[in-house]
């Protein structure tokens, strides 16, 4: 039993450490489309506001859902809000950020990648 416990700890210690990304807000500014749905767009504005829309459902830019965004180290916090006063909050962990791509992971471990438009 003790061996198993030690083994488990050792196995855990051998897992590679994930590199923490500090989100570069300047790089975030712009319009991105999802790698898993090329017609889903997210636009981050310099004013920490943004919009997301999906043209596959005949929703055009300007007709999508508005949001506020902020970052803390690797956290990207998105506060989507509607016209009826409702808010929907998402906290994503940015796992990779490049000039042309962005990857985040939600609290359930699901990742999504976006490419700059």
């Amino acid at each position: 039993m003790a061996l198993l416990l030690v083994g488990a700890l050792a196995f855990a210690a051998c897992e590679p450490e994930e590199t923490t990304v500090v989100v570069d807000e300047d790089l975030l500014i712009g319009t991105w489309y999802a790698a898993d749905n090329f017609q889903e767009y997210w636009r981050y504005d310099m004013t920490h506001t943004g919009e997301t829309w999906d043209v596959s459902e005949d929703v055009q830019e300007g007709e999508g859902t508005r949001f506020n965004w902020s970052t803390t180290e690797d956290q990207l916090r998105i506060d989507l809000f509607g016209q009826m006063g409702q808010h929907v909050y998402y906290d994503y962990t940015v796992t990779d950020q490049k000039a042309s791509s962005l990857t985040w992971r939600d609290s359930y471990g699901n990742s999504r990648t976006f490419y700059r438009k």
């Binding site: 889903e40 829309w53 999906d54 596959s56 459902e57 005949d58 929703v59 007709e63 999508g64 859902t65 989507l80 809000f81 509607g82 016209q83 009826m84 006063g85 409702q86 808010h87 929907v88 909050y89 998402y90 906290d91 609290s107 359930y108």
Partner: protein
């Protein structure tokens, strides 16, 4: 015969002849021509100043029998003069220095008086072959001034007025072959008579006259000129003849005059009075037959009843008294005159052109008779009073340039009383009474009667016009380019009373007029408007009657239109209206006054109206429109241009439209419409099973129609039962041009089967609703109250409270239609005291949002704020779905199922059921959010008997889930947790690691856990803040 007698008679005759011969020889011896000529010439020397010559003077016994005659042959008086060269009259005159040349001058002297007492009494005068040339120079000198002045002139008794000198007792005057010229250049007159023969027989003794005059001549010419020398009169009478019989004293003279002028030429100025037609006429040009009675002292004449003045065949009968002016009295007349049945066309044909020139291009005919009187003084500035009765029969008038059709059967009787005096002392009323005047034109007939007063001044016309008008006959009177055609007839009964000046100047403020026009079988097409009525009455009044002017003091014209039926079709709009018993009262201001805007006041009632336009039909049992309109050309749209102020009252109306399955019944609809506001006093509407009651105000309808401003308003809207879906369908797209929607549909590629509700644009109207029961989007709702606002393409249900079977509900809803294929629905929805199973039945999508809710039984509160865009089929665009929900409840029961049993087993639940085997939960408080296809249920606590659970996780709309259930309290010392993963319909339930150990321990919770609780608080706080009835 015995021989003795024969011898005796022959002897007696011989003796008589012998006596005569002896007397003749004696006379011849006593009065030889040489001796007589010498005497006459010597006498002429004593009396005459001019050169004179009496060729031979002889005695005559037979020529003047029974009087002895002195026959003077070759009488010549010479008195030369000089005529001016440049005088036009002088140019016409014939110069002759012989004043007079008489072939023979014979004077008959009473032989017995001469033999008895040597008195010389002239009984006969005879002139033969006379040529006279009388001249008066411009300075007044006359060649007649040939007599020496007499010293006894002063003692000469003036007997001219009553009798001739006693030694002149003429019984016969005879003038044969007289030619004379009278040229008076002082008075600019020239008269020339040719071959005049005159016979005068009778006596004139001691004022007793018994004379018979007969005169004829070959020609009489008269010329006159004005002071400039221009000819004013040029007359030439051919063979005029005159006969005159007179008997009685000069104070009491009866006579008979006949004048005949067979032919003549006469001109006044440039106007020629005698036409060629007159020359060619077989009748004498002028004939005068005048029996008369005269008082020569007073110069008063009585014209006999048979006095006739005839111009050609046109006779004018005159009778009465004429007194010429004297020193004391002016001329007076009191005569009757009459002419009978003159054929006007024939008369016009012979009249000179300057008289008929005004009738050029016209054809006038008829038979005219005139009779009347003329009474009064004729003096400077004074004229007699004239009465005339004019009768016209079978008249006709045609003037194509003036009247588009000939007028015939003109019959009339007019009576005129004329006072032609203009001076203030003698002027008086003049009037014409039209007893009757009728005429026909094509199939129309008019009849006029009345009077015209004050003829010499501003005439006062008071006439009544009655007629039967065939409406097509009126069409030619209207402008050719007017798009009007009409048929039917009209019976006119009109009256006008006004001054002529008011009529000519069309001063409607002064004219009094009124009457009726009764139309029958009326059929009028004006442009695209077609009106038909079997019977219609139009009553017109000027000034307007009170009823039509109630709203405006400026109204001066009133009209009332009544009828049994009126059908109106308007092709341009597709309108087809049928009106029963229309009653239209219209008041108009002075429509001819350009300073006043065109306006009208009206009161219109209709017993029954059926109107169809395109796919819309309106029926009403009773409709009334009351109000006024005022034109303002400067305004932009047609409603503003007419500035209406209308009270409209409609009862029992039905509105049908092709787009509506059921007609709309307007039980009562009363509203006032002004340009700035439409004030709906009452609108009671039944539509299908729904009833609607509306009142309130709407502003800016005109600007909205002209697309320049919003339509705003606030209305109270109530109903005992309302089909909201039906209502929304009819309101869809209101105010948005049809072509705009069509274009949007094309751009969005919207199938024709999709017909979403398009929120009216440019409209900002608030409805304060109170609906007892309604059906909306398939839901049956009760006691719905709140406001519904439609604002420029956005419809907002603002905190509408209502109850349904399950709960009290409050709803704030927003619906927008920016594009046909991109609709927006937003809800702020609160269900209070709701049975969860009812909630799920009512809002099935809640099961998608919080799937575990179907496991609960009991009451709770549900709050939802969500929005989503929809396509044209109302299908949600899930990429736009964003919402937040909160649910809380107490004393709930969990419905038992397989998953719960599995979870209970894994979590080692013991004795967790109630005694009745139910699973009881004291309270629950859930917050959730949805975005696109993902629903996140934030961790919430749940007390289950001796156990306290925390549940949280997420799932997707396609059914995948990641939930975590963790024991926070339990009788056991271990803390177990279960993960529910996989498809919601058949999830994988396994023990998993604990996650919420420190969630509710503030001193131990990490940032993520604190953030989670903060989000829960924010979500609930935001949702519950909108609950109205807390």
């Amino acid at each position: 015969m015995k021989k003795g007698w024969k011898i005796a008679l022959i002897s007696l005759a011989s003796l008589l002849g012998l006596v005569i011969v002896v007397i003749s020889v004696a006379c011849w011896l006593l009065f030889t021509p040489a001796r007589l000529s010498s005497i006459v010439n010597k006498l002429a020397e004593d009396y005459l100043t001019c050169e004179n010559h009496f060729e031979r003077v002889d005695l005559s016994l037979f020529k003047t029998y029974p009087d002895v005659g002195i026959d003077v042959a070759g009488v010549v008086l010479v008195n030369p003069y000089r005529m001016p060269d440049s005088n036009q009259l002088a140019a016409l005159a014939t110069y002759n220095d012989t004043l007079a040349h008489v072939g023979h001058l014979t004077v008959g002297i009473d032989l017995r008086a001469f033999l008895k007492d040597r008195s010389i009494i002239v009984r006969q005068l005879r002139l033969d072959d006379v040529q006279a040339n009388l001249y008066t120079a411009p300075d007044g000198w006359s060649n007649l001034s040939v007599f020496k002045s007499s010293d006894t002139e002063e003692t000469v008794e003036d007997t001219s007025s009553s009798s001739l000198p006693e030694n002149i007792q003429l019984e016969k005057i005879s003038i044969n072959h007289l030619s004379a010229q009278y040229c008076n250049l002082q008075q600019n007159m020239l008269a020339q008579a040719a071959d005049l023969n005159l016979q005068l027989k009778g006596s004139w003794v001691a004022s007793e006259v018994d004379a018979k005059l007969s005169m004829e001549m070959e020609r009489l010419a008269v010329n006159m000129a004005d002071s400039t020398g221009a000819m004013t009169v040029a007359a030439s009478l051919q063979k005029p003849a005159l006969t005159l019989d007179a008997r009685g004293t000069l104070k009491n003279l009866d006579g008979n005059l006949k004048l005949t002028i067979p032919d003549a030429d006469a001109a006044l100025g440039k106007d020629q009075y005698i036409t060629e037609a007159m020359h060619q006429n077989r009748h004498d040009l002028l004939t005068v037959k005048m029996p008369f009675h005269a008082d020569c002292d007073r110069m008063a004449f009585t014209l006999g009843e048979k006095t006739t003045l005839s111009l050609l065949e046109y006779d004018l009968n005159v009778a009465g008294d004429v007194a010429l002016a004297n020193d004391n009295e002016p001329m007076t007349v009191d005569v009757r005159y009459e002419f009978d049945r003159w054929q006007v066309a024939d008369l016009m044909a012979v009249l000179p052109s300057f008289i008929t020139s005004s009738l050029k291009g016209m054809s006038v005919d008829g038979k005219a008779s005139i009779s009347g009187t003329a009474k009064g003084v004729v003096a400077d500035g004074r004229l007699p009073l004239v009465d005339a009765k004019v009768t016209l029969s079978k008249g006709s008038f045609a003037a194509p340039k003036m009247l588009p059709m000939p007028v015939k059967d003109i019959n009339g009787v007019l009576q005129a009383s004329l006072n032609l005096n203009s001076d203030s002392m003698h002027k008086g009323p003049s009037r014409v009474v039209i007893d009757t005047l009728s005429a026909k034109a094509k199939k129309s007939q008019l009849h006029l009667s009345g009077s015209v007063d004050d003829l010499m001044g501003d005439m006062l016309v008071d006439v009544a016009l009655k007629g039967q008008l065939n409406l097509p006959d009126l069409r030619p009177f209207l402008p050719e380019d007017m798009p009007l055609e009409m048929s039917g007839s009209s019976r006119a009964d009109l009256k006008v009373k006004s001054r002529l000046s008011e009529i000519t100047s069309m001063d409607l403020t002064k004219i009094t007029a009124g009457g009726t026009l009764d139309f029958a079988k009326l059929d009028v097409v004006y442009d695209s408007i077609h009106a038909v009525s079997p019977q219609l009455r139009v009553a017109v009044s000027l000034p307007a009657k009170v009823a039509a002017t109630a709203k405006s003091k400026n109204n001066i014209i009133g009209a009332r239109i009544t009828g049994g039926k009126l059908d109106v079709q308007m092709e341009s709009t597709g309108l087809d209206a049928h009106i029963e018993k229309p009653d239209v009262l219209v008041g108009l201001p002075n429509i001819l006054d350009e300073k006043q805007p065109l306006a009208a006041t009206f009161n219109i009632t209709m017993n029954k109206v059926n109107a169809e336009m395109d796919s819309m039909a309106v029926n009403a049992d009773n409709l009334s429109l009351k109000g006024n309109i005022r034109n303002d050309k400067d305004q932009s749209n047609i409603i503003k241009q007419w500035h209406p102020d209308l009270d409209i009252d409609l009862h029992r109306g039905v509105l049908s439209m092709a787009s509506m399955q059921e007609p709309v019944r307007l039980t009562s609809f009363r509203f006032n419409y002004k340009p700035e506001v439409c004030d709906i006093a009452q609108a009671d509407i039944l539509w299908g099973v729904s009833d609607y009651h509306l009142n309130g105000k709407v502003y800016g309808l005109e600007d909205w129609m002209s697309h320049t401003d919003m339509l705003t308003g606030s209305l109270n809207f109530s109903s005992t039962y309302a089909d909201i879906d039906q209502l929304l369908a009819i309101l869809s797209g209101m105010g948005t041009p049809e072509d705009t929607i069509t274009q949007q549909r094309m751009e969005d590629d919207v199938p024709k089967e999709a017909n979403p509700f398009i929120v009216p644009k440019d409209v900002n109207v608030k409805l304060n609703t109170h609906i007892g029961r309604c059906i909306a989007f398939g839901n049956d709702l009760n006691d719905l109250a709140g406001s519904v606002t439609v604002n420029d393409g956005v419809a907002v249900l603002d905190q509408v409270g209502f109850t349904c079977r399950a709960a009290r509900m409050e709803l704030t809803g927003v619906y927008k239609s920016p594009r046909v294929n991109h609709l927006f629905v937003g809800l702020d929805f609160h269900l209070l005291d709701i049975q969860f199973e009812e909630l799920l039945a009512m809002v099935p999508s809640i099961d998608t949002l919080v799937p575990m809710l179907k496991a609960f039984e009991g009451k709770g509160n549900f709050h939802l704020a969500a929005e989503c865009n929809l396509n044209a089929f109302y299908q949600p665009k899930m990429s736009t779905l964003i919402g937040a929900a909160a649910i809380n409840g107490k004393d709930l029961v969990v419905m038992d199922n397989e998953s719960i049993a599995t979870i209970a087993k894994l979590l080692q639940f013991k004795n967790w059921r109630e005694k009745d085997n139910n699973i009881g939960i004291d309270s629950i408080s859930v917050e959730a959010q949805v975005f696109r296809k993902e629903i996140i249920v934030y961790p919430f606590q749940l007390n289950l008997h001796n156990y306290q659970l925390c549940i949280g996780g997420r799932h997707t709309l396609v059914g995948n889930c990641n939930y975590h259930l963790e024991l926070l309290k339990c009788p056991l010392p271990v803390r177990l947790a279960v993960d529910v993963n996989g498809n919601l319909s058949k999830p994988s339930i396994k023990l998993g690691p604990v996650q919420y150990a420190d969630l509710y321990k503030p001193e131990k919770q990490n940032a993520m856990e604190a953030r989670t609780l903060e989000i829960k608080r924010l979500v609930r706080q935001a949702l519950e803040a909108n609950v109205r009835s807390k």
